[in-house]
Symmetry: D2
Subunit: 264 residues, 4 copies
Amino acid sequence: MKIGKATAPRSAICTSNEDRIVVRGHDLARDLIGQVGFGDYFFLLLTGRKPDAAASAVLNSTLVAIAEHGLVPSVQAARMTMAAAPDAMQGAVAAGLLGSGSVILGASETAGRMFVEIDQAAAGGDLHAAARAVVSARREKKLPIPGYGHPEHKRRDPRVDALFNVSARAGGGQRFIEIAKAVEDVIPEVVGKDLKLNVSAAIPAVLLGVGFPVNALKGVPMLARTASLIAHLNEELDDPIGFALSYQATREYLYTGKMPEGGR
Amino acid sequence: MKIGKATAPRSAICTSNEDRIVVRGHDLARDLIGQVGFGDYFFLLLTGRKPDAAASAVLNSTLVAIAEHGLVPSVQAARMTMAAAPDAMQGAVAAGLLGSGSVILGASETAGRMFVEIDQAAAGGDLHAAARAVVSARREKKLPIPGYGHPEHKRRDPRVDALFNVSARAGGGQRFIEIAKAVEDVIPEVVGKDLKLNVSAAIPAVLLGVGFPVNALKGVPMLARTASLIAHLNEELDDPIGFALSYQATREYLYTGKMPEGGR
Amino acid sequence: MKIGKATAPRSAICTSNEDRIVVRGHDLARDLIGQVGFGDYFFLLLTGRKPDAAASAVLNSTLVAIAEHGLVPSVQAARMTMAAAPDAMQGAVAAGLLGSGSVILGASETAGRMFVEIDQAAAGGDLHAAARAVVSARREKKLPIPGYGHPEHKRRDPRVDALFNVSARAGGGQRFIEIAKAVEDVIPEVVGKDLKLNVSAAIPAVLLGVGFPVNALKGVPMLARTASLIAHLNEELDDPIGFALSYQATREYLYTGKMPEGGR
Amino acid sequence: MKIGKATAPRSAICTSNEDRIVVRGHDLARDLIGQVGFGDYFFLLLTGRKPDAAASAVLNSTLVAIAEHGLVPSVQAARMTMAAAPDAMQGAVAAGLLGSGSVILGASETAGRMFVEIDQAAAGGDLHAAARAVVSARREKKLPIPGYGHPEHKRRDPRVDALFNVSARAGGGQRFIEIAKAVEDVIPEVVGKDLKLNVSAAIPAVLLGVGFPVNALKGVPMLARTASLIAHLNEELDDPIGFALSYQATREYLYTGKMPEGGR
């Protein structure tokens, strides 16, 4: 059954024959292996071009910043899955990745799109006015302000300044950092509470300044968390806690349904 | 319901409070972001120690080597999934990762375990004799020889020498490369055909020489392929081929079941 | 780290102790096993009440109608995944399920929501007018009309009348079937082509008439397709075609990227 | 790239054209929708034949028995995933299914294979002797005895007798039930503790007696749990506990790694 129009598959990422593998126009064995770090290779795979020094520094720093934050829900889901199905680590990684949705890791992309909207709304004009307009419009539609506020880090998430410093040192564009800060400035008056920039807003703020495509932003937390998930699952093999997490989670479990008539 | 013994979950990977996040004994914001590349951070997450220069060079080169090889089955599965469920890129990445099983990407780990077995069998003695014994034992049990032979690269997979060169230049241990070559040498007489080293054997050969744990080997192709999957899914958003792949796949489809009585 | 407000988990679905398991107020071993079919049990799990005869007939017929339609993309993704990772059938089922997204199987839910909207817009009045208004509004927002048109079945999908007949015979409510037909009637004038009702619209049309909750509609194709995926993966174990599908899919593959300078 | 031999995909499950869909030799719209329950359709999809009355009763009862057991680890993983990625229910179902591995739901298949082995070992002779031999051989290889013992139900799991009663009433073959009981009888002397039959052993014991294929056993808990997962995720949409589970799980979390020098 034919769905849609395209019938011959095509891709600009890779081709190969018996003697060589070409990735984004480069001979993999001759020109990439040993000559480009893995973070930079991710940039090349995604965009088709090698990152410059600023893009390399910024992308690697965001991947490091977002990879690991302890036993977050997706790590718990992955470790429980590993405990139940230890033969298939790929399944446990997949279970963890499936938690990279709109609520948790998706905020990097949504915040990035909000910053692009503010950039365009401001044109050459006042950033704070544009930020106020865009944030207000989101509030009116009852949309959250992605990338601001954090359940644990009430002051500013410490990763935010670390990322901003990397961007400044590496010579990354500062425009979207200014936008991110403008949003932070206008939030108290528009939202009525003081929500500080968190890592999910800092990531697009620094990446958009080095030419990282907004469409690919969601890939950054996904790749980063995969590294963390693999580390946790490796630890799970040595020192399992998957069932302990599950046991703890339901110690105060309350059944709110009915009980059968008769019986005990 | 309590399954197993451990009841309080513990982990040596990460802890955090309102002001800082500690990963493997380092302050994430102060000491890691901007100071360590993503490939090296993966090593730290997994092993608890920062890689030395040789480990860094070798690990990054293996991640680059195995990430991308075109429209392999798992990339096709991911792109088809993305076409059907475009709102949830994490689902398409997960679908692709679920193909990282024993037949395809699992070979890196299995080959690594075989090399460790040969290393121990050889002790200080003859590597070729130990390789012959271990390979013969696998053949007797009708097990495949993981990491040798390739459907496309009949001569040696070009990534193999590239990885071996990185290891030599970076000063990585050469012991497991010698073992991998010894296996290649004995295969013709034991197996009866000439199966050349492929990238799945080269990866553990270079990684075991820089202290990468054998248990974590399967994580390398998984993390690497995640980068490739994200790049392909990003391309799928711009230039969809998921349904085209599916259409092509069944152009010669043959139904081998029965037909109902009556009707057309 | 605490995210959100609720801290003690609760559920109305199941509780158990050493001697019995209670599901939705019934003793599982005493009152359900052997006394309720699996389709009906799904209704009970979802809604908390046992289906009446009409609901049982209609729900089972929809599950049968949508389970299997040959080597659709999600089945292909699952069979490719099984070929690559044969030890973990759960991973291949999961890969197939991940294709149950908004484009493919999600249409049952979206069509159901559209029918509810038309029902409310019509109140006691003219169904065709309400259908015209709602369909026109979707067109203005450039939204698709979910559940109408089919790439293969240009006349009406044969499953549609089969489901409508089951509903009529079983005494299910006909209101949403009338709405579904009213939408079909107004599509030519509003959309400009003749898109016939397909199975994804027929499913909510019959289910909403027997009290099936609109929120749970997306569960019907998901459960149904799981049955089909398991059957295909069982066949894959006996007679593998996963790699053949992948090979066929790329026979006409076109690399649209650059080639390296130099080399072959 | 061609992997393996088969190049034209084939399947005996389904074919379709513009006017009809044929499943396992039956016209889906004419002969199956409305005429076969969903549990029976699963049997047809899997085996190619319609179940007789005994097979229908037994298969439906096993699906009902194993579907739901409260907030087990895979349900927790699914609800956490749903909380983090609420737009993609298929991802949360998949995350739950990925916990259907060798340790948890895989026991139905492993127990079934053990029973077949005992059946063949006994030939026409003494079942207890054959059971003793097979169980002893597993113990010597340090393999678990799948389907015996339960963390909560120390006496016999109440679902076991319910399933055995269904089989007896429906006229299912009793041979594998006798084998299952023989294993229970010999366990105290061979294993040294009294491990009672649990539901994972009762399922293959009744299914093998009605001609259900041993290879397909693992599909029964997978399909059953999918129904439960969908019910839990539907409840999660109305009354979310995913993050509460995650919060509870780590209330006693212990970080066992190092702390950085300096700082707080």
